[in-house]
């Protein structure tokens, strides 16, 4: 671990024509533009980033932190469902047949 931030900035510049020194533009491109690309393009970008996994940071990217983001809510962070068979049997039966 990991791929340095500079590699992400370079990918945004290469595939999205984004200024790699503008970290907010890079973040915006990854959040909004990247998911709109065809799967093959995303795969290529992903390969580029993985190829630089473990690279030492070649240049510093000055971070920009969002201001006072809200604490996430529990209700919008549902737990990952456990495999059915890994659950205690009592809980499985409760789910299937209602409260025992």
């Amino acid at each position: 671990m990991p791929t340095p931030t500079a590699a992400f900035a370079d990918a945004a510049a290469k595939y999205g024509d984004v200024d790699p020194e503008d970290i907010e533009a890079v973040q915006k491109w990854f959040a909004e533009e990247l998911p709109m690309l065809p799967p093959e393009a995303i795969e290529r970008i992903f390969d580029d980033l993985l190829a630089r996994d473990g690279d030492s940071e070649l240049r510093e990217i000055v971070p920009v932190y969002p201001d006072r983001a809200r604490l996430p809510s529990l209700s919008s962070s549902p737990p990952i469902a456990a495999p059915l068979l890994a659950e205690p049997w009592k809980r499985i039966l409760s789910r299937l047949f209602g409260r025992l």
Binding site: M1, P2, T3, P4, T5, F8, I23, V26, Q27, F30, A31, L34, P35, P39, I42, E43, F46, D47, L50, A51, R52, D53, G54, D55, S56, E57, E60, I61, P63, Y65, P66, D67, R68, A69, R70, L71, P72, S73, L74, S75, S76, S77, P78, P79, I80, A82, P83, L85, A86, E87
Partner: protein, 231 residues
């Protein structure tokens, strides 16, 4: 027990120990933009003040698109998880650790098998949890063993995704020997420097240098069992 565990899968940890002696409830959730937005505004600035941390300078806002959107279409099946403290009374979820992994890469110890690879893993420093505006956490209520729990998230994903526990990672150079030994204490094996990585660009660009670590199947099952009291 091991065979049973491989067959039935494993739930994620639901509790974490604290200094007070009481466990606190935690939840492993799918990593979302709101988790990483809060992390990057509140936790990462504190991490970035410590140049000795391996996760200094990380930017989770760049990693989440792969987990949230692109993961569905990519061959390597990336997945992102957030480990967070639960406060059900106030409907608050406090992210304490983030894990970004790849669900389908060749295993380091047997290139014909598939493994999980941990791409990014980070835990919140205590200061980040005790200084939350309007929701400070008491020192003795801070969840402990967060690194172990976060690593277990990857092993659990591996068990549940038919990778039967195989999990690998690259221990960042900035973590030095301390980090390597930490993974060793959790049962991971270090890939010898002379061993070849699975075919792919990484073999050329980042060949084995004695910092790739992996869980064999028996070691993963053993590590998973050790965390059972917290599930």
């Amino acid at each position: 027990m091991g065979i049973f565990r491989k067959w039935r899968g494993v739930p994620f940890a639901r509790r974490a120990p604290t200094e007070s002696g009481e466990d606190v409830p935690i939840r492993v959730a799918k990593m979302t933009a709101s988790h990483v937005l809060w992390w990057h505004s509140h936790v990462q600035p504190i991490i970035d003040r410590d140049p000795t941390r391996a996760d200094n300078g990380w930017n989770w806002l760049l990693y989440v698109p792969f987990a949230e959107v692109a993961g569905r279409v990519l061959v390597r099946k990336p997945a992102g998880y957030t480990v967070g403290l639960c406060d059900s009374e106030r409907d608050r979820f406090v992210p304490c650790a983030l894990v970004q992994l790849l669900g389908r890469v060749p295993a380091l110890d047997d290139h014909r098998r598939e493994s999980v690879f941990v791409w990014f893993l980070s835990t919140a420093p205590d200061e980040a949890l005790t200084t939350i505006d309007g929701h400070p956490i008491r020192e003795d209520q801070i969840p402990r063993r967060l690194g172990t729990i976060a690593l277990d998230v990857a092993v659990t994903h591996s068990l549940n995704a038919r990778r039967i526990g195989r999990t690998a990672l690259y221990a960042d150079e900035r973590g030095g020997d301390v980090l390597l030994k930490w993974y060793g204490r959790r049962g991971m094996t270090v890939l010898p420097q002379d061993d070849k990585l699975p075919p792919g660009p990484r073999r050329l660009l980042k060949p084995s240098d004695g910092r790739y670590c992996y869980y064999t199947v028996p070691a993963a099952l053993e590590a998973s069992k050790k965390l059972d009291p917290l599930r």
